[in-house]
C-alpha cells in the first residue's frame, strides 16, 4: 500500500483543560510503518497527544487527520477511525466480566461485524502470538499484570488495526513483567506495524523508534532519530530529562 502516506497528521493542534493549556500548537506527521516514541516529564501532554488520535480527547484548535479522515464531532468518522486504530492503556482496561477470549472477540464481532467463529480463530492466533493461548478461558482478574497487558495488546490487534497507540503500557507493571510486554511490542514493530508509544523505556526507544518526540509543557520541544536524540539532545530541557531517566 501507500508506504509513504501519512497515517497521522496534526497541524497547530491545541487543547485546553479549563484554563490549563495542555497542548500548544502541536505539529506532527507519522507515516505508515513508522514507529514514534513520545517521551517527556509527567504533565507534558504526551497522553493527551495520543488520546487525540482516536478522539478519547477532543482538540480545541487545529486539525487532526488520521488515516485520511479529519476528526470532528461526526461520530461516524470517529468510529471509522477508532476501528483502524488500536489502543493499549497504562491500566490495561480489560473487561472484567468477559473471559480473555471474549475480550478479544468483542470488538471484531460488534464493531466490525466479523462472524464469531472467524473472530475466535483470529483471537486464538493472536493469543499464541502474545504467548498466552492457555489463558483464553480465564477471566482477566486471574492473570498477572504482564499477562493482562499482553491480552490488551492482543485485543487491540484483533481489530486488525493500521495504527497502534500505546499509552505508557509498562508503567503499571512490576519490573519483572515489563520485559515480556516490551518483547511483544518489539516483535510487533519488526512486523511493520505503525506505532506511537508513550513510554519512559529508553532501551525500547533506542532499539525500535524511527523518531523520538520529546515533549514539555504541552509543546513538542524536540523530534529526532534516537541516535541523535540520545547522543546530542538539542535542548537543555531534553538533556535534563535524559539525565533523569537514564541516570538512575
Amino acid at each position: 500500500m501507500m508506504q509513504d502516506a501519512a497515517m497521522v497528521e496534526m497541524e497547530k493542534v491545541s487543547k485546553w483543560f479549563g484554563a490549563f493549556r495542555a497542548l500548544k500548537d502541536v505539529d506532527l506527521v507519522v507515516r505508515r510503518g513508522e514507529k514514534y516514541v513520545v517521551c517527556g516529564p509527567s504533565g507534558s501532554g504526551k497522553s493527551t497527544l495520543i488520546r487525540l488520535i482516536n478522539r478519547l480527547e477532543t482538540h480545541d484548535a487545529g486539525r487532526v487527520r488520521v488515516n485520511g479522515v479529519d476528526l470532528d464531532d461526526d461520530l461516524r468518522k470517529v468510529d471509522a477511525v477508532r476501528r483502524e486504530v488500536g489502543m493499549v492503556f497504562q491500566s490495561f482496561n480489560l473487561f472484567p466480566h468477559l473471559t480473555v477470549l471474549e475480550n478479544l472477540t468483542l470488538g471484531p464481532v460488534w464493531a466490525r461485524n466479523m462472524p464469531l467463529h472467524e473472530a475466535n480463530a483470529l483471537a486464538m492466533q493472536l493469543l499464541e502470538r502474545v504467548r498466552i493461548p492457555e489463558q483464553a478461558a480465564k477471566y482477566p482478574a486471574r492473570l498477572s499484570g504482564g499477562q493482562q497487558q499482553r491480552v490488551a495488546i492482543a485485543r487491540a490487534l484483533c481489530m486488525k488495526p493500521q495504527l497502534m497507540l500505546f499509552d505508557e503500557p509498562t508503567s503499571a507493571l512490576d519490573p519483572e513483567m515489563i520485559r515480556e510486554v516490551l518483547d511483544v511490542m518489539v516483535e510487533l514493530a519488526h512486523e511493520g506495524m505503525t506505532m506511537i508509544v508513550v513510554t519512559h523505556e529508553m532501551g525500547f526507544a533506542r532499539t525500535v523508534a524511527d523518531r523520538i518526540v520529546f515533549m514539555d509543557s504541552g509543546e513538542i520541544v524536540e523530534s529526532a532519530p534516537p541516535g541523535q536524540f540520545f547522543s546530542s539532545p538539542g535542548t537543555e530541557r531534553a538533556r535534563i530529562f535524559l539525565s533523569r531517566v537514564l541516570g538512575h
Partner: protein, 360 residues
C-alpha cells in the same frame, strides 16, 4: 455467672468465653440479651403452639383459650390468599401462583439463561391470563375486579419489576446523557416521582387520571394501579442503576470507545453488565420494597394479600383475632422476601467467584 473458667482446656468453654464473654461490656450485653430472650420466647411458644387452638367448630373455643386461634387462619386462609375470586374456582389462581413462582425460580437459575427464556415467560403469562380471566376452554369468565390476595400481590410485583426495571435503566442512562433535553426530562421525572408518596401517585392514577381522559375512554383500575407502581419503582430503581453506572471505571468506557463500539453496544455489552452487578444488593432491596409496596393498592380498592386480611377481620364472628391473621400474612411476605434476599447473596457470590475476585 459471667466469670470465665480458670482452666480453658474444654473447647466448648473456650468458645463460650471467646465469643460470648470476651470483655466485661460484652458479658453484660450477653446476659441482658439472654434475659430478654427468656422473657419473650417461652411465652410466645406457649401462645403460638402449646396453648393454641388448631381445630374447633367455631370461635367460642378460641375465646375461652389463652393461646393463638389458628382456627381463624385455617378457616379464612382461602379468602386471604385468593380474595373475592369465586370460591369453587380457587384452583385457577392457585395454579397461576404456582406457574408464576415456577417462572421466577427458573429465571433465577443460570442454566435457564437462554434465548428462549423470554418466550417461556410470554407463554407462562399467557397461560396465567387464561387461567385468571377464563372465558375460553370451558373456564368461566372472572373479571379482574374480583382478583385478589396473593395472586394479585405477585402479579403486581412481577409486572412492576418487569416494567420498572427497563424503564429505570433508560432513565439512568438518560440522566447521564450529554444531551441536555434528555437529561432534563430524566431528572425531572425522577425527582417528581420520588418527591411524592406512593399513596398520592396511586390516588392520582385512580381518581385524577380518569378526569383527564376523554369521555368514553376508561382504563381498568388494576392497570392504573400497575402503571402507578411501575412509575414509582422506576424512579427509585433509576437512581440505583445510576449508582452502579458511576462506579464503572472511566477506563472501561475508554476501552470500549477505542474499539469503535457504538454507544448502545458499548452500553449493553460492556457498561451495564458491570454496573448492574455492582448494583445487585440495592436492586434486590428495591425489588423487596416494591413487593411490599404493592400492599398500598388497598387504598384504591384493590384486594391484595394485606387487604384481604383486613377484610376477614371485619367478620364479627371472628373479630379480635387480628394478630393471628397478620402473622399469617407476614409469614407469606417473609417467605418471598427472604427468598429474594438469599438469592441475591448467592448471585453476588457466584459472579464474584466466576470472575476470580473475592466476594465482598
Amino acid at each position: 455467672m459471667a466469670a470465665a473458667p480458670k482452666k480453658g482446656s474444654d473447647p466448648i468453654f473456650e468458645w463460650i468465653r471467646a465469643k460470648l464473654f470476651p470483655s466485661p461490656l460484652s458479658s453484660v450485653a450477653t446476659v441482658l440479651i439472654l434475659y430478654l430472650a427468656w422473657q419473650a420466647i417461652p411465652p410466645f411458644i406457649d401462645w403460638a403452639f402449646l396453648d393454641a387452638i388448631w381445630r374447633a367448630p367455631d370461635s367460642a373455643a378460641c375465646r375461652a383459650a389463652a393461646g393463638a386461634c389458628w382456627v381463624f387462619v385455617t378457616e379464612k386462609y382461602r379468602f386471604i390468599l385468593f380474595g373475592t375470586y369465586p370460591y369453587e374456582e380457587h384452583w385457577r389462581p392457585a395454579l397461576a401462583i404456582f406457574l408464576l413462582i415456577t417462572l421466577w425460580a427458573a429465571s433465577l437459575a443460570p442454566m435457564f439463561w437462554r434465548r428462549w427464556l423470554p418466550l417461556m415467560w410470554l407463554a407462562g403469562l399467557a397461560a396465567i391470563g387464561v387461567l385468571m380471566w377464563g372465558g375460553i376452554g370451558g373456564l368461566s369468565y372472572v373479571e379482574n375486579e374480583r382478583w385478589g390476595g396473593l395472586v394479585l400481590t405477585l402479579l403486581l410485583t412481577t409486572f412492576g419489576i418487569g416494567g420498572a426495571f427497563p424503564l429505570a435503566v433508560l432513565l439512568a442512562l438518560a440522566r447521564r446523557s450529554r444531551m441536555p433535553v434528555l437529561q432534563g426530562l430524566a431528572v425531572g421525572f425522577i425527582e417528581l416521582v420520588r418527591g411524592v408518596p406512593l399513596i398520592s401517585l396511586l390516588f392520582m392514577a385512580s381518581v385524577m387520571l380518569p378526569l383527564f381522559l376523554p369521555a368514553g375512554v376508561s382504563i381498568d383500575k388494576l392497570l392504573r394501579a400497575q402503571i402507578a407502581l411501575i412509575l414509582f419503582a422506576a424512579a427509585y430503581l433509576a437512581e440505583v442503576v445510576r449508582g452502579g453506572l458511576q462506579v464503572v471505571p472511566r477506563g472501561q468506557y475508554e476501552a470500549a470507545d477505542a474499539l469503535g463500539l457504538s454507544y448502545w453496544r458499548k452500553t449493553v455489552l460492556v457498561i451495564l453488565p458491570q454496573a448492574l452487578k455492582i448494583a445487585i444488593p440495592p436492586l434486590v432491596n428495591s425489588f423487596i420494597g416494591l413487593f411490599k409496596d404493592t400492599s398500598l393498592v388497598l387504598i384504591i380498592g384493590l384486594f391484595d394479600l394485606l387487604s384481604t386480611v383486613k377484610i376477614v377481620l371485619t367478620d364479627p364472628v371472628w373479630s379480635g383475632f387480628g394478630v393471628e391473621a397478620y402473622l399469617f400474612a407476614s409469614l407469606v411476605y417473609f417467605v418471598f422476601c427472604y427468598a429474594m434476599s438469599r438469592y441475591s447473596q448467592r448471585l453476588e457470590w457466584r459472579l464474584a467467584r466466576a470472575e476470580g475476585a473475592r466476594p465482598r
